[in-house]
Symmetry: C2
Subunit: 561 residues, 2 copies
């Protein structure tokens, strides 16, 4: 059965009742969206902050992925269900899927097989409208910028130095670089512009890092949209008086969404910043809420541990004073073979040599987690039906040589029951863990210079020997250093490799990481450093998934996966 067929057979419970049953959440603090989705009121979220209870946080991250992804979400769901099965009150915290990939190549992002969150179609299509609210808030600011210039430009915005683009929740390459304001005076001033996908919007990052409404609005107000004609004076969203309306548009989007897994356990699915250009983690609000309610909170961070775990720790945990008690590193046999040099169409055939060779990618990620951050770590092999015992045994043994446990987990095929061994290992790690926000090893201190922060990430995690940049970029970094030197770095790098070259698999060393540009995201509170080329607007493939998506006369959807 396909993911959507499994999801459509789910025996969902009404979410209001389920939230009361599992965690005593009062109905009046839940805004239902249909019968199986709801939003938690911020009043309830606030009320929890006074509770003593503080659950344990577990991060699910992964090796450098194949283009299909290695099942972080699936593993997060499976592990959550397994922990609940063995009697640990657990909530999983996921990111919301983006429509772009859903219609493009990757498909939905609500887990897979028997480890999914449901209602799958709703979560993948629109959900509770958060991304749409973010898109409109973003585009309102865009419209107000051009409108301000059109009506006399009292703020003296340099139209050539506007950094704030427009967004749409679609893979639409034709919109990457455009010219706006054509057609004469009635349509404003001509300038170059472009669209990013919604998940790349700074508003998305802000929503995910904001701790309450006041913080949200303040962060929106301090967005730097560009510079004045003196080239250096920043123009803020608050200068345009846009932040109040933007925050009003986000009035519901800021509330965490609550849904359930196929096994009727609670999932908070909230926020979804792009893991390349942004920090790739679900919202701080959702994570903190889960920690107050549950004994165990399982969350994921986008792409491999070089990107996802790094930004989870150095951006999200730093900003929100969080710390994971343990890390689950998801690997697949097929991804190891991929890193071992096997092409994508032969990944289903046993190849011990390739597994052995590809292990170097996993090893680098293990070392990064255990040495650099000194976090307890378990490797989870997300089991595929064509994996052979010889292959998985080899990985287990090689992990053991590194002093790390490796568990083959069959949650995709069996749901929570298939992940009980993983869950037991996680419990034992967490119970032995002394990691707390106070003793968490971050990779760099706030006051390390920007250049050195980037260098630290590249050399310590990526295995690079150096970072390089043009004089222009170096100059920009020096300018940012003056005013914003204390901000953390949001690395934007291909997820396919430790290097900036997507085809360089395994665990490359001695490479140069070129920083091609830097971008201040002042509202989000970080500096994006773009290593190599990064797309902030994907394109559709020759035969997009959209062509296969359909709905019948009774409203039953097919072709989503």
């Amino acid at each position: 059965m396909s993911d959507i067929e499994i999801a459509q057979r789910a025996k969902m419970k009404p979410i209001i009742g389920l939230a009361a049953e599992k965690f005593g959440i009062p109905a009046e603090h839940l805004d239902p969206y249909g019968h199986y989705k709801a939003k938690l009121s911020l009043e309830y979220v606030d009320s929890l902050s006074h509770q003593a209870q503080e659950g344990k946080l577990v991060l699910v991250t992964a090796i450098s992925p194949t283009p299909a992804g290695e099942g972080k979400t699936t593993t997060t769901v499976g592990l959550g269900d397994a922990l609940n099965r063995i009697g640990k009150k657990t909530i999983i915290c996921l990111r919301e899927p983006s429509l772009g990939p859903c219609f493009g190549m990757k498909g939905g992002a609500a887990g897979g097989g028997y480890s999914q969150v449901v209602p799958m179609e709703d979560i993948n299509l629109h959900f509770t409208g958060d991304f749409h609210a973010i898109a409109v808030a973003h585009n309102l600011l865009s419209a107000m910028i051009d409108n301000h210039i059109n009506h006399g430009n009292a703020l003296d915005i340099d139209p050539r130095r506007i950094k704030w683009k427009r967004v749409v929740d679609m893979n639409d390459r034709a919109l990457r670089e455009i010219t706006v304001g054509q057609g004469g005076p009635a349509n404003g001033y001509l300038r170059e512009d472009g669209f990013d996908i919604v998940v790349a919007s700074e508003v998305m990052a802000i929503l995910c890092l904001a701790t309450n409404r006041a913080d949200l609005k303040e962060r929106l107000g301090r967005i730097v949209i560009g510079y004045k004609t003196d080239k250096v004076t920043p123009v803020y969203a608050s200068d345009l008086k846009a932040h109040g309306a933007m925050a009003a548009l986000l009035k519901d989007a800021i509330k965490p969404n609550i849904v359930q897994t196929l096994e009727n356990n609670i999932a908070l699915v909230h926020g979804g910043p792009f893991a390349n250009i942004a920090h790739g983690c679900n919202s701080v609000t959702a994570t903190k809420t889960a920690l107050k309610l549950a004994d165990y909170t399982i969350t994921e961070a986008g792409f491999g541990a070089d990107l996802g775990a790094e930004k989870f720790l150095n951006i999200k945990c730093r900003s929100a004073k969080l710390a994971p008690s343990a890390v689950v590193l998801v690997a697949t046999v097929r991804a190891l073979k991929y890193h071992g040099g096997v092409d994508r169409i032969h990944l289903n055939q046993e190849n011990l040599e390739a597994v052995e060779k590809g292990f170097e990618n996993l090893e680098r990620h293990i070392t990064n987690v255990t040495k650099n951050y000194q976090l307890p770590c378990v490797v989870c092999i997300n089991h595929f039906t064509y994996d052979t015992d010889a292959e998985t045994d080899m990985i287990i043994e090689k992990c053991s040589d590194l002093g790390v446990k490796c568990i083959v987990s069959k949650h995709w095929a069996e749901g929570g029951a298939g992940a009980e061994a993983l869950a037991n290992e996680v419990v034992s790690m967490v119970e032995g863990s002394t990691i707390s926000p106070d003793n968490l090893n971050l990779l760099y201190p706030d006051n390390m210079p920007i250049w050195n922060k980037i260098e630290t990430i590249a050399t310590k995690l990526y295995g690079a020997s150096e970072i390089v940049a043009s004089d222009k970029v170096k100059g920009e970094i020096a300018e940012l250093q003056e005013k914003y030197g204390d901000l953390p770095i949001c690395m934007a790098k291909t997820q396919m490799s430790f290097s900036t070259n997507p085809s360089l698999k395994g665990a490359p060393t001695g490479h140069s990481v070129e920083i091609s540009s830097v971008k201040l995201e002042h509202g989000a509170g970080f500096i994006v450093a773009i290593a190599g080329n990064m797309m902030t607007m994907p394109g559709l493939p020759k035969t997009p998934t959209a062509e296969k998506i359909d709905i019948d006369d009774n409203g039953v959807i097919t072709g989503l996966f």
Copy 2:
């Protein structure tokens, strides 16, 4: 008190209970969106179609408006509440507000004073996400067009003859005319494009005219996105295999939304096609549902009767086999003065001469309704506090001379109680009315040639002596005539005047109506005839309303009106 302050003091009832109490709608057929908004299941809507009950339909339309509008929505709400007060089971059917005007100049569109639908902030901001779903469905098709060309253009689409633009729910003049595909081969092919506001999307018109899911998908599939390089062969959305995914994206948007008035009466607020470029009426699904449930269904159509009522009758009623039993024509003393030559800042001062002169605009609308369509008609003066008795008496008398009753209605200040006289008159009109879909006088038959249809509208309703068009446009009309000659016309004309000149007030005669372009909306099932210049993307004013909209730390919104 401002509209939003009144709305925030509303004593709303939980909508699920209210729907059951008022019309016996079973809870399982309602998808809640929070506690005060819900969507009706299509299964329930379908189940009603077998019921014998057929309520009476009343259309609320208006004179040619001032830029602020004359209160059609407010009157629809007030009349609905008044009918319920005098014991008639009534549902009102409204259009959903667009975010663009909300942040621009006009503000929200959920009624005013003590005649509003609530929750006002939600209805004005995002509501249940219908417009966002429409935007994404539209933009998916846009992305699939450029993607198809990028990947080899197997359908041989002429990039210069693409008629399908992109949409955003924002007043953003900079996006009216743009160039997409800049930046080199990775970004596709360069071409001119533009954005319309979402309410101008053909997808919006389709959603509002579709009778069920099958009809929706079929209409989406037959959208003509442009032509092949032979210049004449249309390319359909179904050729791009986009319609299934588009229909899936509209899975919830097609369900009617149910909310309440300040007086806890039921309102269906669903769909919101632009009244200039599209047909300006709420959804057929909502209207038909209301007719099955209630004795009286009150609905409105955008702008003055020359546009709104005309398209309501000749497009919506024709397509959906509906007929209004009576028409309420909303006028304001200030609008009469405006048509009588008073400038906008002096409209609050008594000016009998101007009222008398401006009456000619109202008279033309009355005549159009009573003579051309032979519909029972009452004039409702939507009372403003500074209207004088002398002014209103004059209007009443002049209406009486035309054989039409005119009622001063104070629903803005008093809610339903203020509109009881209007309600009683409506009841007496409806009870005496023999209008039915079978005997409804439409302005033109299906088989009248396109040119003559447009001419009929212009000469019979607008007082024009002729329509004119360039040879190019005449050629396009002739081409459309061959294949699509039976479709009705969707006139796109300024709402400010019976003519194409917005500053020509009153009731001009003898003017020429220039048809500047025509556009096939094949999925919606009409041909748009653009008379003069029409914007399909508004701009923001120098000081947009957005600057005043705010939200406090507790989530209370201010500045919406």
